[in-house]
């Protein structure tokens, strides 16, 4: 039997942020699916999409949605990896890889929202 390694004094923070981001997503994510539905059904033309996406307050909310989404996804993947993968080296490198991918993805999306490209 290994010796007791003590407590990590961490856990409540990740638990809290997972839920805080969930509350934001609860309000904002339905909007994203609504947009998709409207375009799919042909109700909205491209001009409608552009008009809405380019409104300043929509851009702010859109960015907020993206942040919450990335945080929520990051914490969710972390929990899943911690549950099933037990080799520290694999766990840490995989989390590094996923964090990097999420970051790149987030920057690309922000560029799209604010029209940097």
């Amino acid at each position: 039997m290994k010796h007791d390694q003590g407590v990590s004094h961490h856990g409540v923070g990740e638990w809290y942020w997972q839920r805080a981001s969930a509350v934001l997503l609860m309000f904002l994510l339905p909007c994203a699916f609504y947009v998709l539905g409207m375009v799919y059904a042909g109700v909205w033309q491209q001009s409608d999409v552009l008009r809405i996406v380019q409104m300043p307050w929509v851009r702010v909310l859109h960015s907020l949605l993206l942040m919450a989404l990335l945080l929520h996804a990051y914490l969710g993947i972390k929990v899943v990896i911690e549950d099933y993968l037990h080799i520290t080296g694999i766990r840490v490198s995989l989390m590094f890889l996923i964090t990097s991918l999420l970051a790149v993805f987030g920057i690309a999306w922000l560029a799209l929202i604010w029209g940097w490209a």
């Binding site: 007791d4 407590v7 004094h9 961490h10 409540v12 990740e14 638990w15 911690e82 549950d83 037990h86």
Partner: protein
């Protein structure tokens, strides 16, 4: 009364060096309201004396005969044969090291129970008579203290299956909450400190197998949620 009960029982003999296997048995109905333990006793006393399992009180108080019965954990002594689909699959508690047949090594389980310091800790001087508790404070222990440590909940938990070396499991956490909500205990802060860990406490993902398995109808998931809420309250 001469209808036969069909069982399929997990067997493992460490001395034979064989792999575990399922063995079929047929047992007569010996009495109305017959329990699974009665059937196991019948096998041991009349068919195969080598069948090994734990039992003691036979009425759901000691918590010795926790088993996996048709895929769900429960106590053999209070599980009625009548409600079970046959053949009744009887296996040891899941994700445990098997010593022989249905007997598993409970050391790690009790070690995790010990980790939450399941006794009253105080720093104030001992009163002349006893530490009193108001009836409404005593009521907070209902649904917490009844645990008999049979291990049905902890060994039903997938989070504990995958991370049982670090995650304390529902039984130990239910008891952690039992001492956290006890108005007489004065080590609440240290108890929280000992649980503030992504693995010890936060592996619980509300799977609720523990609640479904508990033979005493307790709810460890709710107790764990209460600890999490109290932990947040302490930090914010």
């Amino acid at each position: 009364m001469d209808k036969m009960i069909r069982l399929s029982v997990f067997r493992f003999d460490p001395e034979a060096g064989d792999k575990p296997f399922m063995q079929a048995f047929e047992v007569p109905v010996t009495k109305p309201g017959m329990k699974l333990l009665d059937a196991l006793n019948y096998i041991k006393w009349h068919i195969d004396g080598t069948l090994t399992y734990r039992r003691s009180c036979g009425e759901g108080v000691c918590g010795s005969d926790g088993l996996n019965i048709n895929g769900v954990n429960g106590l053999a002594c209070i599980t009625e044969i009548a409600g079970l689909k046959q053949p009744i699959h009887v296996r040891p508690l899941p994700s445990m090291l098997v010593i022989r047949d249905l007997v598993v090594d409970m050391d790690h389980f009790f070690d995790q129970y010990r980790q939450i310091k399941p006794w009253m800790q105080t720093s104030t001087p001992v009163p002349e008579h006893e530490r009193l508790q108001a009836p409404q404070d005593r009521a907070k222990l209902d649904g917490q203290y009844e645990c008999i440590l049979c291990g049905c909940c902890t060994t039903s938990c997938p989070s504990w299956w995958w991370n049982g070396d670090r995650f304390l499991g529902p039984a130990a956490l239910l008891q952690a909450n039992r001492w956290i909500v006890d108005s007489r205990d004065e080590a609440t802060g240290e108890r929280f400190d000992q649980l503030e860990d992504a693995f010890r406490l936060y592996r619980c993902h509300q799977i609720m197998n523990c609640m479904e398995a508990c033979p005493k109808q307790l709810n460890p998931t709710a107790a764990i949620n209460h600890i999490k809420r109290s932990m947040l309250k302490r930090q914010s």
